[in-house]
């Protein structure tokens, strides 16, 4: 218990972002502007852990490093050592034999709708798109998250996912704030909230907003309408002085102030280039283009603007924007020196981000772009952490970082491998060898298949 509290404090300090500071200062000025910037604070605290040594496995550190027969140590929720076989196991550590196995940082999905579009996928659960106005920066995804979504447990046990960003859907040009979660079962979304993680703003290019609102006979009904509505909204946000509280403009102002990261659903190369110009016009930056199936056409532009591309390995054909999708997208982006993230946007795909990364790697290799296994693991660990603003805390195996760790029963880039154990802040949250070390959501309890290996 004592350790847990300490780790939570550490998490806040390490992340060093405004939301944490507000925990201490926000209440002082609650009755007047400026508003409480963190009104739904994280109550997440790491679960009890044990000092643990993973010995003898192949380790990918998330930063491009690979070590065979390595040792990874963690204690009090933090990585305390990563090294070769000469790194001794301190007294009191549980030693786990990793021979023939692999260790990676916890997998991170930058694009998930778990909780907002949970299972069962019924109308009563459809809480991911506030599709009533083309811009809804006032909504927050965390207010829709149903913590009982069984999808969280599958992402943990099959995908080794330890952190994930829940985004609003793409019906709107500005869909609302994202929330970053630790993938632990909890009764409340606050109990899952990643302490100190910055918010994101979900934006969407192209077909979806114009289809949704054009279908209602209102703007935007075209791509030029998309930009017109976006630009006017930014102009209005620039004029906001914060005197009267306006939820939408508070979010947009925080974007302009650099506190909230832009996650922009955008498939086409030409549209991404326009968004980059729009961001410059209004003085903000884009963290990541999501669903960026045409990034391979503009890898140079993305590198120059330091924008990540969150991509699938091989989704294709479902809409015009996806028609130019190719398997080599991720490899070509990496080859151009730009940042690659593999994302899911899917309750099934999130269980196999490692496999999607492997497919994308293999496609590159077939055209002579050889990207190391260690770098490819970075596509699903450090790169999403960086793009989400939590890389100081997780996404790599470095001393002092959170002990978000996956022990795989084989090469994580092989189709034949699965997570064997998953730790979040040093707490063992999944163990394939222990049927009880597997979450069963309230929804599943007492239903057919409850507690199955899934």
């Amino acid at each position: 218990m004592r350790f847990a509290a300490r780790a939570a404090l550490l998490a806040c300090a390490a992340a060093a972002v405004s939301a944490c500071a507000a925990d201490q200062t926000g209440t002082q000025s609650a009755s007047a502007a400026p508003p409480v910037s963190n009104p739904y604070p994280s109550t997440y605290a790491p679960y009890p852990d044990r000092p643990t040594a993973l010995v003898g496995a192949t380790v990918f550190d998330g930063l491009g490093g690979e070590m065979r027969n390595a040792t990874v140590l963690f204690e009090n929720g933090r990585i305390t050592g990563v090294g070769d076989a000469s790194l001794g196991v301190p007294a009191g550590y549980d030693q786990i034999d990793g021979t023939g196995k692999y260790v990676t940082p916890g997998v991170i999905d930058i694009h998930s709708h778990l909780g907002d579009y949970p299972s069962p996928d019924v109308g009563a659960h459809s809480d991911g798109n506030e599709a009533t106005s083309p811009t809804t920066p006032e909504v927050w995804a965390e207010h829709s998250v149903w913590p009982q979504d069984p999808g969280f447990s599958r992402a943990l046990s099959n995908g080794g996912v330890t952190s994930l960003q829940i985004l609003p859907g793409s019906a709107n040009l500005m869909g609302g704030r994202s929330v970053t979660l630790k993938n632990v079962p909890a009764l409340t979304v606050q109990g899952m909230k990643f302490p100190g993680a910055p918010y994101g703003l979900k934006m969407a290019c192209g077909e979806n907003p114009k289809r949704v609102y054009g279908g209602k006979g209102q703007a935007p009904s075209t791509r030029m309408g998309n930009f017109a509505v976006n630009r006017q909204t930014w102009i209005d946000a620039q004029a906001y002085d914060g005197t009267d509280r306006d939820l939408a403009k508070e979010t947009l102002k925080a974007v302009l102030d650099g506190e909230i990261k832009i996650h922009n659903h955008c498939y086409r190369a030409d549209e991404m280039a326009l968004v980059i110009d729009m961001a410059k016009e209004f003085g903000y930056t884009v963290s990541t283009f999501h669903h960026a199936v045409e990034s391979y056409k503009i890898g140079d532009l993305l590198r120059e603007n330091d924008i990540c591309s969150a991509v699938w390995a091989d989704w294709w054909g479902f809409k015009m924007e996806a028609y130019d999708g190719i398997l080599e997208n991720a490899a070509l982006i990496q080859n151009a020196g730009a940042c690659v993230v593999i994302h899911s946007d899917d309750q099934d795909g999130i269980q196999r981000l490692n496999q999607e990364a492997a497919k994308a790697q293999a496609a590159g290799r077939r055209i002579g772009i050889d990207i190391s296994d260690a770098a490819v693991i970075g596509w699903i660990t450090h790169n999403p952490a960086k793009a989400m603003g939590i890389a100081d805390e997780t996404g790599s195996l470095e001393i002092g970082k959170a002990a978000d760790v996956v022990l795989w029963n084989g090469d994580p880039l092989s189709v034949y491998s699965r997570p064997e154990k998953v730790w979040i802040d040093g707490a063992l949250m999944f163990d394939a060898n222990d049927p009880k070390r597997r979450p069963v959501s309230d929804f599943e309890l007492g239903q057919p298949g409850a507690g199955d290996v899934k």
């Binding site: 479902f318 080599e328 290996v453």
Partner: protein
């Protein structure tokens, strides 16, 4: 007449099929697709478009060109059960999409074979992924019946459809219940009525195989005449629900000469489908989807009904799939069910089949899970779906007499790092380029200094 003849000659000239080449591949790891494990240092021989031999110790006949398969894997082409190949271009572009006919007055009579486009990128992309044959079906639109599916090959020629009207497809899941009027009871009532109308219509219409006319003489794999073609009778009962076309289309379902594929998920619904055989013993059923199949696996096995089941779905996305698990297929297989991986429609592209199968192999290492051996998993995307499609021994397998559908892979075909290098269908080597590969080639570098990328092709 003369003009017609010359037009025919021209069309023959344009579509003249490529000639099957004799070939032998030696020294490769060969997986025959029949459920057995891969064979090291083996040989595959194809002559006249058919497999002659596959295995170790196979001699290459004189005069047959030899390909060195050292370091490669050689397999039959993948057979994808229940796809929508060739029926659409872009999902969100309605005009390009022939999978569904929501506003049509027809349902069971819809014939997919007339719409399949052999030049579809979905066919080209799937071929690049090693898929050589498939069954094709649309989506339910106006009715629980989505129409008559086809069996196709993915060869680069206009002769795509191997068998038109190969099976009928019906939804008896939640989707079917909504389409039938709002409930499962409505779907079952509609089905029973439809089969009775079909039986009655068949008895009066002179369709072969019905009481009014004996079984047609079949000469092999020929197609029975389309029942719609033989009947000019318009007089029918006064309370019929089916159009004449739809009733005629269901005659072969009612008499068991055309399989009925049933999309169904919930364990109780699967039992209800199996129970249809009590009322309609001639039904030739195939289950599709089957998320909760493992809960009733022994019933399915006892009924001798094969299944095309989702491999990796493990979430209660609907109330009819509360028990969904990746162990579903393995458990059904262990119970004796003939089970293939599928369906491959919409975003489940047929080229993903090896990844799905590989995952089921991976399950063998997960305590409490039930997976498949490598041989079983590979069979679940080759010979088993071919068998379910009525092509046992003819496709999805490297066995003497089978179609010469052969793939050379650069590694274990179920592994994420592997891909087809060369593909033959009926002994004809196939092109593996498409829209995606052309884009890949254009953007391999980003140099736009001399001319725009539009000149790079």
């Amino acid at each position: 007449m003369k003009m017609l003849a010359s037009a025919l000659a021209l069309s023959v000239a344009l579509v003249s099929p490529a000639i099957a080449q004799d070939l032998a591949i030696t020294g490769a790891t060969v997986a025959t697709g029949d459920g057995s494990e891969p064979i090291q240092d083996a040989t595959v021989v194809v002559r006249g478009g058919r497999v002659v031999a596959a295995g170790s110790g196979v001699a290459v006949p004189a005069g047959v060109p030899v390909i060195d398969g050292t370091g490669k894997w050689v397999t039959p082409g993948l057979f994808s059960a229940v796809t929508d190949l060739g029926l659409w271009d872009v999902g969100a572009v309605e005009e390009s999409d022939d999978r569904e006919a929501e506003a049509s007055p027809f349902s069971a009579s819809l014939d997919m074979s007339v719409a399949i486009n052999p030049a579809s990128q979905h066919i080209l992309v799937s071929r690049m992924g090693g898929v050589t044959r498939a069954t094709v079906i649309g989506q339910p639109g106006s009715s629980i019946f989505s129409g008559q599916g086809a069996i196709i090959d993915l060869g680069e020629d206009p002769d795509t459809v191997t068998r038109a009207r190969a099976f009928q497809f019906i939804n008896l899941d939640e989707t079917g219940a909504r389409l039938a009027g709002g409930s499962r009871t409505a779907a079952h009532a509609l089905l029973r009525n439809a089969l009775r109308e079909a039986r009655d219509y068949g008895n009066r219409s002179g369709i072969a195989g019905t009481a009014s006319r004996p079984e047609a003489v079949r000469t092999g794999d020929d197609l029975p005449i389309d029942p719609r073609m033989v009947d000019n009778e318009t007089q029918r009962g006064e309370d019929v629900l089916l159009t004449r076309f739809d009733a005629a289309a269901l005659v072969p379902v009612a008499n068991g000469s055309q399989p009925l594929y049933v999309q169904v998920d919930r364990a109780a619904d699967i039992r209800a489908v199996l129970a249809l055989k009590n009322e309609f013993p001639q039904l030739d059923l195939v289950l599709v989807g089957v998320h909760e199949g493992w809960l009733v696996a022994s019933d399915i096995a006892a009924a001798g009904v094969p299944a095309v089941a989702f491999a990796l779905d493990d979430l209660p996305v609907a109330f009819e799939e509360l028990a969904a698990t990746q162990s579903n297929i393995g458990r059904m297989k262990d119970a004796g069910v003939t089970v293939a991986i599928g369906p491959f429609t919409d975003d489940f592209q047929p080229r993903f089949a090896p990844q799905f199968a590989g995952n089921l192999v991976g399950l063998q290492k997960v305590p409490g899970a039930t997976g498949l051996t490598w041989g079983e998993a590979f069979a679940a995307i080759t010979s088993v779906p071919a068998k379910i499609a009525g092509m046992e021994g003819q496709a999805g397998v490297l066995a003497p007499g089978a179609h010469g559908d052969v793939v050379i892979w650069d590694g274990d075909p179920l592994e994420l790092s592997s891909a087809p290098e060369r593909v033959w269908i009926d002994g004809v080597e196939q092109p593996l380029d498409n829209h995606q590969s052309a884009l890949r080639n254009r953007y391999r570098d980003l140099d736009r200094s001399e001319l725009p990328k539009a000149y790079d092709w």
